[in-house]
Symmetry: none
Subunit: 195 residues, 2 copies
DNA sequence: TTGTCTCCCGGAGGGAGACAA
DNA sequence: TTGTCTCCCTCCGGGAGACAA
């Protein structure tokens, strides 16, 4: 499982003030940001981040001040006003991770209410398989682990229709699959039926 | 019928620019604004106006410049940005008038769709009558005049339940009255029934 | 180490008269 | 007469190091 680099900080009054930017703890910057070129007198780079809605945010990441520290300056204040952040709010930074799912994607998936015996289709990347998608049936809905009750993460036990040469999971998350419409037992999207 | 003082102007580029205010034609200012104290070197006063949503707007009305002219300065630019006015838009100024009805009040009233035989209640001002409200029935829905087709103005012909010592109109506008709920013929709001 | 303060400077914009159509 | 221009000056706020907890 890949390591997830992330940090989290409760915003201070200075972080959310109109005068200046956001100060980053050195450990956080080292772990989570691309390395700065420390040969420069004042090391600077542009960071591009994405929020859970898929919107892009650009921040100037600079290492300056006496003593030296990591700061996010240009771009930070528009982020603060746009998100209406105030001192005391929390700021979470992640690079990408499989545990992060777009909010809309998640809400859509949860709305579909997958249940036992429901038919579904799941896409695979082209690099992984020559076929784009495989079909199957939900055969169980249960927590993956008692440690994470009511988590939707890999909550669906599935049975695949056909054998395949590529490895496919026995459990999937609702946002990984698409439900298929059934009408009187005839699967309208099944390729064996005329379209 | 009272005289309605009003003016109307197509906004110029200067009126909507960020630099400066709104210039008022002298005739308009004389007819529609309270008179300025012309003994002052630079006559100034504050105008308080209300939009159709009932929201209050304050403008500084000043008579200055070479040659002298009437201007609305402080408060005008927030009005422009808030209403998203641009050059070419029209600006209408009225003092109060019985023909001006709040937008929400109007929309609500139109939504109620008054029809013949509907029961209603109408409030009167305390100065006019010791009773606060009288009930009646709508007996006709028609244009007040063929000159103003589909106007809701006094479009409802009504019959009052009881005689009263005060003069009451034979025709009312939808926004002047309130519909009363009827259930199996029992008027739930009629004072003669227990509440 | 890191939050706050203060200073500096540039841009936005209000408010004034100049000026011209 | 009245729309536009330009100038002036204030205010806001980003961005820097100073400083202290």
């Amino acid at each position: 499982m890949p390591i997830v680099y992330s940090f989290f900080k409760v915003l201070t009054a200075s972080d959310t003030s109109t005068h200046g930017g956001f100060s980053v703890l050195p450990r956080h910057a080292n772990e989570c940001f691309p390395a700065l070129d420390m040969n420069q007198q004042i090391p600077v780079q542009e960071l591009i981040a994405e929020d859970l809605h898929g919107r892009e945010w650009r921040f100037r990441h600079i290492f300056r001040g006496q003593p030296r520290r990591h700061l996010l300056t240009t771009g930070w204040s528009t982020f603060v006003t746009s998100k209406r952040l105030v001192a005391g709010d929390s700021f979470v930074f992640l690079r990408t991770s499989q545990f992060i799912v777009g909010l809309n994607k998640y809400l859509e998936a949860v709305n579909k209410c997958f249940g036992v015996s429901m038919r579904f289709k799941m896409r695979f990347e082209e690099k992984v398989s020559p076929r784009r998608s495989y079909t199957g049936t939900v055969v169980g809905v249960e927590d993956l682990s008692s440690q994470w009750e009511n988590s939707k993460w890999r909550s669906l036990r599935v049975q695949w229709d056909e054998a395949a040469s590529i490895p496919r999971p026995e459990r999937v998350s609702p946002w990984e699959i698409e439900p298929m419409t059934l009408l009187f037992g005839v699967d309208l999207r099944n390729p064996s039926n005329a379209r």
